[in-house]
Amino acid sequence: MSVIEAPTPTDVVRRARRRPLNRHRLVVGGLSVLLFLLFVARVLLGDYTITIPDFFRIVTGTEIPGASFILLESKLPRALLGVLVGVAFGVGGAIFQTILRNPLASPDVIGISVGASAAAVAVLILVDVTDNRWLSLAAILGALGTAAIVRLVSGGVAGYRLVLIGVGMAAALNSVIQYLFTRADIFDAQLALRWLTGSLHQADWPTIRVLVVLLIVLTPIVAWLARSLRITELGEDAAAGLGVTTRRTDALLLVGVVLVAVGVAASGPIAFVSFLAGPISRALNAGRTTLLGAGLVGAAIVVAADYAAEYLILDINFPVGVVTGALGAPFLLWLLASGRTGRRSA
């Protein structure tokens, strides 16, 4: 008998399983490097350049007039906040899109972000509170409330119904915001507009600290719950058959809502980040969902967009949400042109 070189079945399976895993490592590694470079550019470059030795001197406590202030009070907190909310939006959005099996079902399309904004604007204009902490709390409660209503009215997470209810909810909440706008005095109205666009201008260390703690608490929960995500993608019935209960899916959705809510509370609803991050990371990862990748893409988008918003046009500092909103449209067009708008598309 001749020696047969054919691979054993075990080898075939092992190789087939390893390929996506390797690809995932590559994607995550590449995105991490990209994010690091963007972060460095955001912190060091711009209209006031900080050299690398200076950066380390300032961070380790040396006082350099001018540079210290700009780095510690503006550039560094903004970059950090950008990374944190980018991760929150990216992961939150990817959770939604995966569970609802629809790239359109991101939290900003189905009303969650709008709910957060509406609550914050209501408190700002009706109660006349301008303290950021209360506004943030209102935003989180608003997002949770909206999510609860959408979930209860639609009566399940399956199919288009939840998306449709969410779109309707978003439209209604938008008109609530517009009504509040007409009741506000003009200074409040402009402040409220920032809440609607999403901006990193108000980045400060206490916010960052709270956000870091929250993300550290949420990460293991997401990791634990997300193990069922692969199965949830197969659809509600199949998932139920394979032992993933609706309760578990709901818990994961709840975590997604919390992530988005926390992000909105910290920076306002930065348009389209949670919508873009999931599909981009999926496309990079050969069509497989990756929450880690989505988080990294989200962070990269926010940091890069913030850089563009700050320095692209001389003397005009746009809030970051303006750039991401303008960026979201071409991406959607690409989705259209490449015919990737189906159910299981990137």
Binding site: I165, V167, T197, L332, L336, T341
Partner: protein
């Protein structure tokens, strides 16, 4: 779409015809009732007897409320008709000026008109709103036609969402830099017919009339399109020309409506669906009834908005959302939006 209901067609024609007469009678009564209410109800209530007393105060109130009533009816009729045409043309149950980017286009053009061209009077910026709405409608349709399979419902919805997102962020960019524009814009963007007299209505009347005429003669076209693009072509329709005519009607109607009152959501979305429940799926009936009930719903919303939160008024655009959302939710839960 996926939720298509299985219905028994056997009893439809007869009961449909019978209910058409009833529905028409109900509609006439409803229009008269809501118009009367619109003249009488407001921060200063008027009794029917006072109305004919001929005092100066009375004539002042009537002079303000009669044109407002006319504007409300026209606005609602245009929105209802535009919504029905859009849903028929795109075969998309969610088609609505708000969702297909029309309102966002109008809003952005408004802001450009206010800042760049210095428009300050309603009769000036009305044209910007109209142009913006028209351009956005055409652009969304063209974008959705990219790619292999033409303008499918899903692609239209996505193109509309993309347009809305991009235009909204550009609008906010301008507004953040210019406080004065924000002051005018925020009062316009809620959608209001308060303080409208005859002049904007007369300015826009020709466009709205042409739009309505084009829409109403398109009933057969829309019926054929319901069968799908291929089937319609097989039945000998020039689908491109048909689409252009209906599209022009939509542009004129929704652009005119948005120019008249600002963005008013949900009327164009829910009225055709409700009408469809009552009169069946023939566009020859859907179109006129959508027009009528659109007018009734809009004016009723405006009347309620005048008294619901005294002393201020709640604008008609807000009220249609408040009334529209529960109906919208109810329709989705019943699976009604799938039945196209």
């Amino acid at each position: 779409m996926t939720l298509t209901e299985q219905r028994v067609p056997a009893s439809l024609p007869l009961s449909g015809r019978a209910s058409t007469a009833t529905a028409a009678a109900t509609l006439v009564v409803a229009v008269v009732a809501v118009s009367a209410a619109s003249v009488l109800v407001g921060s200063r209530m008027v009794s029917p007897f006072e109305l004919f007393s001929g005092s100066d105060a009375m004539s002042g109130i009537v002079e303000a409320r009669v044109p407002r009533t006319a504007v409300g009816l026209t606005l609602g009729a245009a929105l209802g008709l535009a919504g029905a045409c859009m849903q028929g043309l795109t075969r998309n149950p969610l088609a609505d000026p708000g969702i297909l980017g029309v309102n966002a286009g109008a809003a952005f053009a408004m802001v450009v008109g206010l800042t760049v061209f210095g428009a300050s009077q309603l009769n000036q910026y009305l044209w910007f709103a109209f142009a913006g709405a028209a351009v956005a409608t055409v652009a969304v349709h063209m974008l959705a036609s990219l790619g292999r399979d033409g303008a499918t419902p899903v692609k239209l919805a996505i193109a509309g969402a993309a347009m809305t997102a991009a235009l909204t962020s550009w609008t906010s960019a301008v507004l953040l830099l210019d406080r004065q524009t924000l002051e005018v814009f925020r009062l316009w963007q809620v959608g209001t017919i308060g303080g409208r007299y005859w002049s904007p209505l007369l300015t826009l009347a020709p466009m709205l009339a042409v739009g309505a005429a084009l829409a109403l003669v398109s009933a057969r076209v829309l019926n054929t399109l319901t069968l799908g693009e291929d089937m319609a072509r097989g039945l000998g329709r020039h689908t491109t020309r048909d689409r252009l005519i209906v599209g022009l009607a939509i542009v004129l109607l929704s652009g005119g409506a948005t120019a008249l009152a600002g963005p008013v959501a949900f009327v164009g979305l829910i009225v055709p669906h409700l009408v469809r429940i009552v009169v069946g799926s023939d566009y020859a009936r859907i179109l006129p009834f959508s027009m009528g009930y659109g007018a009734v719903l809009t004016l009723a919303a405006d009347v309620v908005g005048r008294v619901v939160l005294p002393p201020a008024e709640v604008q008609v655009g807000i009220m249609t959302s408040v009334i529209g959302v529960p109906i919208f939710f109810w329709m989705i839960r019943r699976g009604r939006l799938g039945a196209l």
